[in-house]
Amino acid sequence: MAKAPNRLIVFMSKRMIACDEASFLISVREDRRLGFRRWWQLKMHLLSCHLCRKYARQVGELRYTMEVYREGCSHESCTHHLSPAAGSRIGEELSRELKAK
């Protein structure tokens, strides 16, 4: 009876993952569903690791930030503009090509 907890600990620790695997799973989780075993391993790791908990939160924030970045530039009001010089250069190139036809 006394051995049971030890065996349990050994059993559990063989299945424990370190931060490298945990952060990998946090990333994979962004793109697809984890299987039960991986999900459980990550859950257990996050319970005991405050750095990876922060990491998981920040990866979510990174997704949000990239969304803001994408949205910010999909509207007409974006901060990037084709410079007048480049605009006229491209215009000239186009009309030259049109005339050649």
Binding site: E21, T65, V68, Y69, L82, L94, E97, L98
Partner: protein, 196 residues
């Protein structure tokens, strides 16, 4: 087939009407304004050649954007196959000596200062759009080109993994590792910029 005016191609006005839009689209994805200008020009020229094939069943801008999108993916592919970039022997493993400790018994733990430091990645208060753009640009520039391509296709174009793997000629497990590394580096880079 539609005869409505919007669907008739008018190359003369393209630059004026779509130049900024296409330039934006390109610069967010290639992170280089010179390169983006070239891509816009190539797009217009390609569109001019393919003008007869324009069916008019989509808006002109959508059509031009689809041509530009192809061109951007081609630049990713070129970057991916460039010789100057070597992915290293760890291409398929999640271990990265830049971020994790390699000595027992702490193998796989965060290296000092490489794990997250602050609780949040975002600065306090309203996020300044321009500042955000600048930092993201900087951090994407710091990524190796292959990582950047995969990251942009996933996060900005929201392509699914099958499409990205097909376009870049990689396996799904390559892709998961690449996205993981890109996220590691982007997170690290953004946190450092905002903590300053």
């Amino acid at each position: 087939m539609s005869d409505s005016k919007e669907n008739i191609l008018d190359p003369q006005q393209w630059v004026e009407r779509y130049g900024d839009y296409l330039f934006n689209y390109a610069v967010v994805r290639v992170n280089d304004s010179g390169k983006a200008e070239d891509l816009v020009q190539e797009t217009f020229l390609a569109a001019l050649k393919a003008r007869d094939r324009f069916r008019g069943d989509s808006a002109e801008r959508t059509w031009l954007t689809s041509i530009l999108k192809r061109k951007i993916i081609d630049t990713y592919r070129k970057k991916y196959s460039s010789k100057e970039f070597a992915f290293g022997e760890h291409e398929d493993t999640i271990f990265d000596g830049d971020f994790y400790r390699s000595e027992e018994p702490f193998k796989g733990h965060w290296l000092e200062g490489k794990g997250p430091n602050s609780y949040t990645l975002l600065p306090e208060g309203e996020l300044e759009q321009e500042e955000l753009m600048r930092f993201i640009n900087l951090c994407i520039e710091n990524l190796q080109p292959q990582l950047a391509s995969a990251f942009i296709m996933r996060m900005i174009d929201e392509e699914d993994s099958d499409t990205i793997c097909k376009e870049l000629g990689i396996t799904p497990s390559n892709l998961w590792v690449m996205l993981h590394r890109a996220r590691l580096k982007m997170r690290d880079c953004l946190e450092k910029h905002w903590l300053k």
